[in-house]
Amino acid sequence: MAHYDLHMPVFEEQVRALRINDTVTLHGTLYGIRDATQIHMFDRGRKPRFDLKGHAVIHTAPNVRKVDKSAEFPAGYAPVCIGTTTSDRMERFTRPLMKQYGVRFIIGKGGMREGSAQSFADIGGAYLAVIGGTAALETTWIEAIEDVDMDDLKPESLWKFRLKGFCPLLVAMDSHGGSLYTAVKANSQARRAQALASLGVAVK
C-alpha cells in the first residue's frame, strides 16, 4: 500500500504503477461528468470543448450557485456541494472515454464491472473510489469551478474543477485486473450460506 501525489494530466506509466489499496491525491484539474453528459457525448455525438487526455473524470452532478464571473468564480458558478454518484450506471462509457478521449482515471462510488476492468487493463487506467455520501468533505478539496461545457444539461454538465488536493482516493480497480469489489463480492457470496443458516433457512 503506497501513497501517490499525482499532478494531472498523467501518463500511462504513472497509472500502471498503481495497485489496489494504494491511495492517491490528485492535484490540478479534475473533470465532472455524469449519465446525461455521456449519453450526449457518445449516443448523440456531441464533442466537448475540453481536452480530457490523461485526465481524471469524477461521476458527479454538483450543487452550484450562479454568480457573476470573477477571478474566484471563472465559470460564473460557486461550488455549493460537490460529491459522487453511483458509477455502475455509467459502465458502458468507460471504454469510449478512455479510447476516444484518453481519460486515465474514473472516480466514483460503488465500483464498476468487468468491461471497465478490461478497459483499465487494455488501455491503462484505474478506478479511484471516493466515499459516497461524503460531499461536504469533498467540497473542501475543490478550489474553484474553472469552466463548464454542455451546460444545457445542468447539473449534468461537463465541469472543470481546480483542485486543492483531492484526497484520499482509494485505488479500487487497477490496470492489472485487481478489483476490491470483485474480492468483496466473492467473499460475501461465500458467506451467504452462513447468514441463511443463522436464520434457520436450509440452502438449496
Binding site: R65, D88, G110, T134, T139, Y181, S188, L196, S198
Partner: protein, 291 residues
C-alpha cells in the same frame, strides 16, 4: 388549532434545507455503535471519513451529500386541526420549490420520458406527499425525507408464494443486500415490507427504511424478523461502501400488513448512511423543528 397554508409552505421549505444538512441523532448513534464493533481496518477508515463528513457539513453549513434526492413529505394530522387540505398540498409543493431555488439546492427531479429538469425539485406527483391521521388532539406533523437515488435504485419486490413461507422472505432480504453491494452507500437501513398488496408492500418497505434507528416494528412477528435479519445481514461482509467489513447495515427494519391467503409478498427498500430526515411539529404552543 387552525393552520395557515403560509406556515406550511415556510415549514416545507425549511424542512428540505434542514434535512439535507443535519443528520438525525439516532443515525449518529448508529455510527458510534458500528465504529465500536467494526473489526476491518479499511471499514474503520471509511466510517471515519463518513463521520468527518458529518462534522464538516455542520461546521460549514453545507449539504451532507450532493444528492438532494426525491423529496418526500409525510403529513400526520390530529383530530382537532382545522386546515384546507388542498391548500396544504399546494403549500408543501411551493415550499419544496422555494428551498430548491432560494438556497439553492440541486434539483434532482426530471420528467421520466423527456428527462427535462424544471430545477424546482418538483414534477408530476413529486414531491411525494403522504397524508395520514392520528389520535392526538391538536397536532400537525410534517416529516421530510430527501430520498437519495443510490439507495432507491436498489428497491426490490418479490411476490413469493405461501408454500415458500417465511424462508422466502428471509432469503430474499439477504439476496437483496448482496445484490445491492456498495451501490446503496452502506451502512444502510434495510427496509423490509412483508405482506399487503404489491404497492402496499413496497410502501411499507420505504416506511421501514426511513424509520428512526432504535425504533421497532409494532407487530411482534415483524420485530422478531428485524432482529434476526440485522444479525444475518451483517454477516455478509459487504461493509461500508461495499469495500468489505462488518458494518453492512445499521439495522434491518420490518413493517408488516395482512395479506391474501394465496400471497406472500416481500419488498426491500434501502436507506443509505446519509439517512436524512427532518420534522416540523405544529402545536397550539407553536412550531418546533426536530428529526
Amino acid at each position: 388549532m387552525k393552520i395557515d397554508p403560509q406556515q406550511v409552505e415556510d415549514a416545507a421549505r425549511e424542512l428540505y434545507i434542514r434535512a439535507v444538512k443535519l443528520l438525525p441523532p439516532d443515525i449518529k448513534q448508529g455510527f458510534a455503535g458500528l465504529v465500536k464493533r467494526e473489526t476491518d481496518a479499511t471499514a474503520q477508515g471509511v466510517l471515519g471519513t463518513m463521520l468527518v463528513n458529518i462534522q464538516v457539513a455542520e461546521d460549514t453549513d453545507n449539504l451532507l451529500c450532493q444528492d438532494t434526492g426525491i423529496p418526500i413529505y409525510n403529513v400526520r394530522i390530529g383530530r382537532n386541526v382545522e386546515l384546507d387540505g388542498f391548500a396544504m398540498k399546494q403549500a408543501i409543493r411551493k415550499g419544496c420549490e422555494r428551498a430548491t431555488r432560494e438556497h439553492p439546492l440541486r434539483s434532482s427531479v426530471v420528467h421520466p420520458v423527456t428527462r427535462k429538469n424544471e430545477h424546482s425539485s418538483c414534477g408530476r406527483h413529486v414531491p411525494v406527499i403522504h397524508i395520514d391521521f392520528c389520535s392526538d388532539e391538536e397536532l400537525l406533523e410534517i416529516e421530510m425525507i430527501p430520498k437519495g437515488s443510490g439507495s432507491e435504485n436498489n428497491s426490490f419486490l418479490k411476490m413469493a408464494i405461501p408454500a415458500d413461507g417465511v424462508d422466502a422472505i428471509k432469503t430474499f432480504v439477504i439476496d437483496c443486500v448482496l445484490e445491492a453491494g456498495g451501490k446503496t452507500c452502506p451502512p444502510t437501513i434495510v427496509g423490509v415490507g412483508v405482506g399487503g398488496t404489491a404497492d402496499l408492500c413496497v410502501h411499507l418497505s420505504k416506511v421501514a427504511a426511513t424509520r428512526a434507528l432504535g425504533s421497532r416494528c409494532s407487530d411482534r412477528e415483524g420485530a422478531k424478523l428485524e432482529e434476526a435479519l440485522t444479525e444475518a445481514g451483517n454477516m455478509l461482509g459487504v461493509g461500508p461502501q461495499g469495500l468489505g467489513g462488518d458494518s453492512t447495515a445499521f439495522a434491518v427494519h420490518v413493517e408488516t400488513a395482512a395479506t391474501h391467503i394465496t400471497m406472500n409478498p416481500v419488498a426491500v427498500n434501502m436507506q443509505c448512511h446519509s439517512a436524512r430526515r427532518a420534522r416540523a411539529t405544529f402545536r397550539p404552543a407553536g412550531l418546533e423543528y426536530g428529526y
